[in-house]
Amino acid sequence: MTDYWDPLIERMPVDELKKVQEEKLVQLVHYVYNHSIFYRKRFDKAGISPDDINSLADITRLPFTTKQDLRDTYPTGMFCVPKKMVVRYHASSGTTGKPTVVGYTQNDINEWTISLARALTSIGIGREDVVQVGYGYGLFTGGLGLHYGAEMVGASAIPTSSGNTERQIELMQDLGSTVIACTPSYFLHMSEVVNKLGINFKDDTELKCGVFGAEPWSQEMRQRIEKQTGIKAYDIFGTSEISGPLFTECTYQDGIHIWADQFLIEVIDPKSGEQLPDGERGELVVTTLVKEALPLIRYRIGDLTVINSEPCKCGRTHPRIMRILGRTDDMIIVRGINVFPGQVEAVLLTIPEVAEHYQLIIDRKGELDTLTVQVEVTKDVFSDKISDLMRLENKVGKSLKTVLNLSAKVELVEPGTIPRSMGKAQRVIDKRKI
């Protein structure tokens, strides 16, 4: 039994959906051209007039936008509405460069919330639920985004934000939270604290599912979380530039549904910029079809994924993106070989003796890059024999070598020594000075 927030739109036949997208795209190019000096210049430079865009296929004629454009026009140079129309701002932390600012009209907030209402409904969250929002509230879009979405579907939202874990667990028990929304790494930390308190999610809380995102996590991590805690773990996706958290999987856990009446997605070859067909892995590019304050045309999000346009078993016809495999900018190159932290995670979590926490340390000794993978030894399997521990190191090293085609030094570390994160986990430490 699947519930829909808006069955007419969510189950709209694909060709009708494409017509809706086409109409909105044509309107959008006129809208941005007429409301933003940035887009006008960009189109003129590319020799494109809004009148050239008449079909979905024409989208490939439009130039890309990037995070760098948002930085270059900081704070509001890409906005298409006067400031008095803006009802809210969010901003990125700027940890990887100059911060970026996003703005929302009232309608933008509504559309964002509708997107999440559809998503949360698709994983069975409704009036009966208590949603504990463990994403940060504030300039980060995670907390407020989930909060509004949960309220719209009639659930009770608990704005715990991140941190203060024991208090979170107490509230979870006292208020009967059925859903936890946070980063997967924070949930792992929460699980550790739950264990330490001598309780478990299954018997001592009402928790039935988690809405996990804001950092890449693997299918293996999902299986572990589900097995260890007995809850369903769902993937949520979105990024502040396109509003915030927007999309989730449905209960079939077979790809994240992207609402095609609001967003148009493509996957491109990150090097050539050429659009790739369905099923091919590449960089995700998003065009916002209904945003007013900060519409983005062919925005290169940087996440690597695969599009699946087949209607889902749940009945929804909108395209899905398969699990985010990493980002073009979190790919690390070690001795000329591309490594994604997600690949390493997938390998590690197939080895039962290894805990969920890990860190990659890249260094350079002389001319040679070194990759060290630190993993925590779980208490349950600690053998007092050195030979067993050495065997474990070798086993991890061999599995990594098979998948990465790269030798990594494996270091066993004590549980709890890899820093726990309240937000996005820092999986990679690059000490190379290049």
Partner: protein
């Protein structure tokens, strides 16, 4: 058989400064007396092994402090403090095809020597050592060393 075994506490530790300090502080605060102690190192990590007077308390306290700790059954073999004593024990085990995983020894206050061993077949070792008239100490005796 049980009372012929002693409980050894093993702790996983990264090979870096202050790990031993931290661990011994916990034992000190719990008023645990260490009877025998050794560190085996393997590159970036090591295993600390010890025989203490209150193994269960030590285990619990270290565990609560976040250490990876386990209890292992080992044998405390009493030897005379004289040349050839270790060879005698090694001969009994060797000729009965019992493998020693690791061992460490110390001299006690009672003019005896004590050998702590972990073997691949502990029950077998208890039998063959017993048959040869070798004394194995139990936990009560550990407390009194």
């Amino acid at each position: 058989m049980e009372n012929k075994m002693i409980k050894q506490i093993s702790v996983f530790a990264e090979n870096k400064p202050a790990r031993l300090e931290r661990m011994t502080e916990i034992l000190k605060l719990a008023n645990i007396n260490i009877r025998a102690f050794t560190i085996a190192e393997a590159g970036d990590f090591g295993v600390l092994r010890m025989v203490v007077d209150k193994p269960d308390t030590a285990h619990r306290q270290l565990n609560e402090a976040g250490f990876t700790v386990s209890e292992t059954d080992v044998l405390g073999v009493e030897m005379s403090d004289s040349p050839g004593a270790l060879h005698e024990i090694a001969h009994i085990l060797g000729s009965n095809n019992i493998n020693v995983d690791y061992a460490y020894a110390f001299v006690t206050a009672t003019q005896k020597a004590l050998l702590i061993i972990r073997v691949d077949n502990i029950n077998n070792a208890i039998t063959v050592l017993g048959n040869a008239g070798v004394v194995l100490i139990d936990m009560k005796e550990v407390e009194m060393i």
